[in-house]
Structures are given as C-alpha cells and as structure tokens.
C-alpha cells in the first residue's frame, strides 16, 4: 500500500509505522499486605510487554483471568501511566504530548469495556450516551447528530426508539451494543475492545463481530481485541498475543498461532476450546497446579509450575521472547 503524504491526520495508513506501540512496558501496583501497617507489596500486573498494532489491523489478546489484559488496555488508552517503558501512538510518546495532542489522542482512541453495566451513565438516555462524544469533539449540528445517532443505532442492531430510553431498560447484551455505538461515533483510529462480546448470545455476538469487521474495512480502524472465546479471536485478528501472568508468552500472526501453537500454555488453551458436545467434554483441569500469584512470581519461567513439560532449567532461567519463525515469537526454553 502506498503512503499518502501526512497532512494533519494523526493516524498513519496501513503499512506505515505502527499506530500504537508498547515498548517494554511494565505496570506495578502496590497492594496492602497483612496487618494495618503492613508494607505495600508490589504486584506486577504487566511485566515487560512490547507489541505493536499497525493501522487498520486487529491484535487479538488472550490469556488467563487476572493475567493483565485489562491493565494493558488501560495503558493503551492512556488511562494509567506505565511504571516503566513507553506507550507510543503514531510514533509519539503518549505521556509527553501537549494539550492538543492529548485531545487528538482521545478523539482517535476509544474503548468498549468488559462490563456494560458500570460503563454507561444510568442517568443519561441512550441519545445522550451515544452522541456525547459527538457533542464534545465535533462541530455537528443537532440535526446531523440525530441522523448520525440513528445510523449508529441501526448499525448495532437497536431500534430507533432506543434513543429515548435509559440503560436500565435494556438487558446486558443490549447495553453492550449501546457502548459499541458510542465507541465508534467519532470514527476512531483505534478501538480497544475489552471482552466486548462476552455478554452476548452467539448470534448477536456474530452480528457484532461482523459489524466491527465491516467498520474496520470501511474506516480503517485498528482494534485491540481482548476475548476468551478463541474462535472469535481467530476470526477477528491479524496478530495474536498470548499473555500469562503479566508477560507475553507467544506473539504471532493468527494463522501461525492457531495452525502451529508453540507455547505449552497456548496449546492448553486451544485444546480446551472445543466445540460443545454433550457427554464428550470432561471437567479435567487442562492445566494442573495452582495459578501462581503475581505478588510472588515463580523463579525462572513463570509458567513452569503448571507446565506439563517443564525441566530443571526452567526454574533457573527466565526465557526471553524470541523469534523462532518469521514473525512468530515465543518465550519457552523447550521450543526450537
């Protein structure tokens, strides 16, 4: 794809420098330890993650509950500063942008979160919720806003009458559509989708995923798509990142990751994600052992306490993420 000369547009075209990048980013939270005056303990929610998302592409992000996916999305959204490392949007560090740059950033980057209940203002009608970004960030007339509202509502499969209702009048799934309508209102360059379809039935899930893809093609939006449904992630993504306890353990183009998973954690995830078949699915834990605490990481490889193929050296040396095939990165001593 050819690159058009950059005018004032901040979002680069596909093929250019990555739209958003994390460079060796770590986020540490301090949590209270036992007792009133107990010392704070350091919880490494995200630990040395580097990744990049080119414009108009999707990065799928999967990993165990509590492994740091939502923390990572907050870092991408500039809602929290990294403890160390850098977050860059269109080549610029998002924490050293001026006022104007920040405003642009917030117009260019939006999000849909895991929880449709707390993310929508209960006192506002759908009309206000969806058009608020338009009012704040665009010079649209009332009439144009109303038109845009109606087209957004029909895009996400809500009836026109929904505009006058309050969030509590909708079911969980319907509320998530409202959140998606709001997130795409300003035609953003990047939308961070933190489990956007977990609350929806499979049919509406498919509808929303189709819609997200259409919008991506039409408006060249990049997505960071966090989900637990591996079939949905496969369908949506160009690149995939697999996280375990705060770190990336595998990072690859989607075909490579599903066709030839290399990390034992990725393999376990894929193995456990079979289509439903009554009577043929066990409740045997796909991984043995307890999930280690991010407050107290194991020595060496962080996955070794649950790894079916761990060896002595895995307890000693922490594996680095390395490229074992073109574009396919894995952090495991035992993969050649």
């Amino acid at each position: 794809m050819t690159t058009s000369p950059a005018s004032t547009v901040t979002a680069p075209k596909a093929g250019d420098t990555p739209l958003i990048e994390l460079l060796n980013v770590t986020k540490v939270y301090t949590v209270r330890a036992g007792g009133f005056r107990g010392q704070g303990r350091q919880l490494r929610a995200v630990d040395g993650v580097s990744l990049s998302v080119p414009a108009a592409t999707t990065l799928g992000l999967v990993g165990e509950s509590g492994c740091g996916k939502t923390t990572l999305s907050r870092l991408l959204l500039r809602q929290e500063p990294p403890t160390t490392g850098e977050v860059r949007y269109a080549g610029k560090n998002v924490w050293s942008m001026g006022r104007g740059g920040q405003k642009d950033f917030h117009r260019q980057v939006s999000a849909v979160f895991q929880d449709p209940y707390s993310s929508l203002n209960p006192r506002h009608r759908v009309r206000e919720i969806v058009t608020e970004p338009l009012m704040v960030n665009s010079g649209m007339s009332r009439h144009d806003r109303e038109e845009k509202l109606q087209s957004l509502l029909s895009d996400v499969g809500l009836p026109p009458a929904a505009a006058g209702l309050y969030p509590h009048e909708f079911s969980g799934g319907q509320r998530q559509r409202i959140a998606i309508a709001r997130a795409i209102a300003l035609n953003p360059g990047l939308v961070v989708l933190d489990e956007p379809v977990s609350a929806l039935d499979v049919s509406i899930r498919a509808q929303i995923l189709n819609l997200l893809k259409e919008l991506q093609e039409r408006h060249q939006i990049a997505y960071v798509f966090i989900a637990h449904d591996l079939a949905a992630v496969e369908h949506m993504s160009d690149q995939m990142a697999v996280m375990y306890l705060g770190a990336l353990v595998e990072y690859a183009p989607v075909e490579g990751l599903y066709g030839n998973p290399l990390h034992p954690y990725t393999k376990a995830l894929l193995l456990a994600s079979q289509p439903p078949q009554p009577g043929k699915m066990s409740l045997e834990a796909p991984l043995s052992g307890e999930v280690p605490s991010p407050l107290n990481l194991p020595s060496g490889c962080r996955f070794r306490t649950r790894c079916p193929i761990a060896e002595a050296r895995c307890a000693e040396l922490s594996p680095q993420l390395r490229e074992v095939r073109p574009g396919h990165y894995v952090s495991c001593h035992l993969v050649n």
Binding site: A161, H168, S198, S203, L230, P276
Partner: protein
Amino acid sequence: MPPLLEVKNLQTHFITRSGVARAVDGVTFSLERGQTLGLVGESGSGKSVTCSSIVRLLPKGSGRIVGGEVLFEGRNLLDISENEMRRIRGSQISFVTQDPMTSLNPVYSIGNQMEEPLRYHQGMRNHGQLHAKVVEALTQVGIPSPERRVKDYPHQLSGGQRQRVVTAMAIECQPSLLIADEPTTALDVTVQIQILRLLKDVQKELNLGMILVTHDLSVIARTCDKVAVMYAGRIVEEGPIDEIFARPRHPYTRSLMRAIPQIGRKEDRLYSIPGQPPDVRRLPQGCPFAPRCPDVIDRCTHEAPTEQFFGSNHRARCLRAEEMGAS
C-alpha cells in the same frame, strides 16, 4: 416429595413509559435436587429477569411479578414475607448475579464481604475461623495469594477474579439451590473449567440443584442435565442436553446452534440469525420468532404456537416442531 423448584407460568412485567415490557411471559419449568438446568437464549430474552424473579430481587422500580408461582420445596416463594425470603436467600438459595459489581460493595474489602453471610446465616463469630473459611473459599476458586487478597477492594481485582469471588460467596453457606447468572463469561477456558468442576463437586456434596445461565454452549454441554431455551420471555424449547444438541425441535434453537463459532472455520462473515430481536413491548401476533424464522409458514404469523411434547421431557413451542425433529 415435591421437586426442589417448580416455576409455574411465571410472568414478570416492566411498566415503562413506552409500554408494558413482558420480560417474562409465562415461564414454566422444574428442577430436582442434584440436577443442573442450563438456561440459554437470546440477549434480552428474559433469562436474568426469570432468575431474579425466583429470588424476588427484581431491579428496583418498575419490575413486577404479575402472575404465576415459584414453588421451592413445595412452598410458594411469592407468598411469603420479605423477612422470610431474606432468610432463605443466602442460606437455602444462592444467587450469583450477572454483573458481579452489583453484589459487591466497593467500599468494603473482599474478606469483609465474604465474612458477612457466614456471620448472618451461620452465626459464625470467631475471627480466626471466619478468616480461615474465607481464605479457603478464595483458594477453591483459584484466587492466588488469598491471604493477601482478602484485604483488597473489588476494584483491585480483575473482572474474572470478581466473578469468582461472587461465586465463592454463593457456595459458602451450603445452599440447596444455586442460581448462577453467567458465572463464567469473564473467564478463560482453563479457569472456567476449574470453576465448573468446583460447582459440580459442591453439587455432589450437597445434592445441590443448579440453574446455570450462559451463552456458552460448551458450558452447558460440560455441566447440564437439561436445557431450556428462551426467546422473547418464554421457554421455546426444553429437554435433556443430548436431545437438544442432537435433535433441536425449535427453529430458534437450531439457528442458535448454527451460530456457535468454531476454530478453524475460515469464513468472511459469521452466521447470525437475520433480523432484530423482538421488542417485548410490542410482540407480534402469532409466534414471536416468525419474522426471523427460516422455516416460517403462513399460519405462524397469526396463530400462537402451543407446546408440543416429544417423549416425557422434551417440549417445543413451534407449530412445525414435529417435522423439525425429522430433518
């Protein structure tokens, strides 16, 4: 002995400015001790409202149970006092809400909140004992470093951790009926299986009856004995799981199965049921699924389907249910 739970023709309506929403419109099912019922269906079809009606925890304001019975061990829960109901909730019946944040108080630590039902329902007072109980419950649901995490506030936990805390609270008091509304949506498959395993273990131990609401048909396949499929406030099909998976009789169930995403199925567009979900304020005459149904015939648009039975425990609300099983 009466069944553990019998719901008969339950009707719950919401009075809104734009009309009466028949969120639950004549739901009937029963559940035995030790049995697991999966409740699936379209977003907005009334699964959560059915659950909250059973425990009488409808969202404050406009929601009202306008008809039917909820017989728990033979006793109609819709007739008893609020005080009695409160005693039953959290001791005999536990309810895990769809959104864990509605069951967690943001200003109290996790440990504090988990001790509450033990104090209130089990009269446990000893500090050390309470602490030990809570830590054990958190360990069971796979929260790492539980002795430290008890001090945390809900916002310091990840989405899936909060969901597991709420599940842990629900089984603490050893109920005889557990209603869990989407208990595993925020969990990856490995943790999900761990939680389902725990629920099944607790079920065995207590001879617990369970209702699991979920969009994930793998969860149903792994854990349930029977499934009820909801559409527009009604159960449109119910039966044993292998029957429902192998020979779904209702076109909605069949479409739902078709929409299950599968790894390795490279398609440009995912299959979804055409059309929009019905507005329960303005239900059409005839079958509510008719406008979207691939198998619709003329009669469907004006004749409301009644339930048809196939064997003793498989039923479907479709005029063509008989033919559907044949194909």
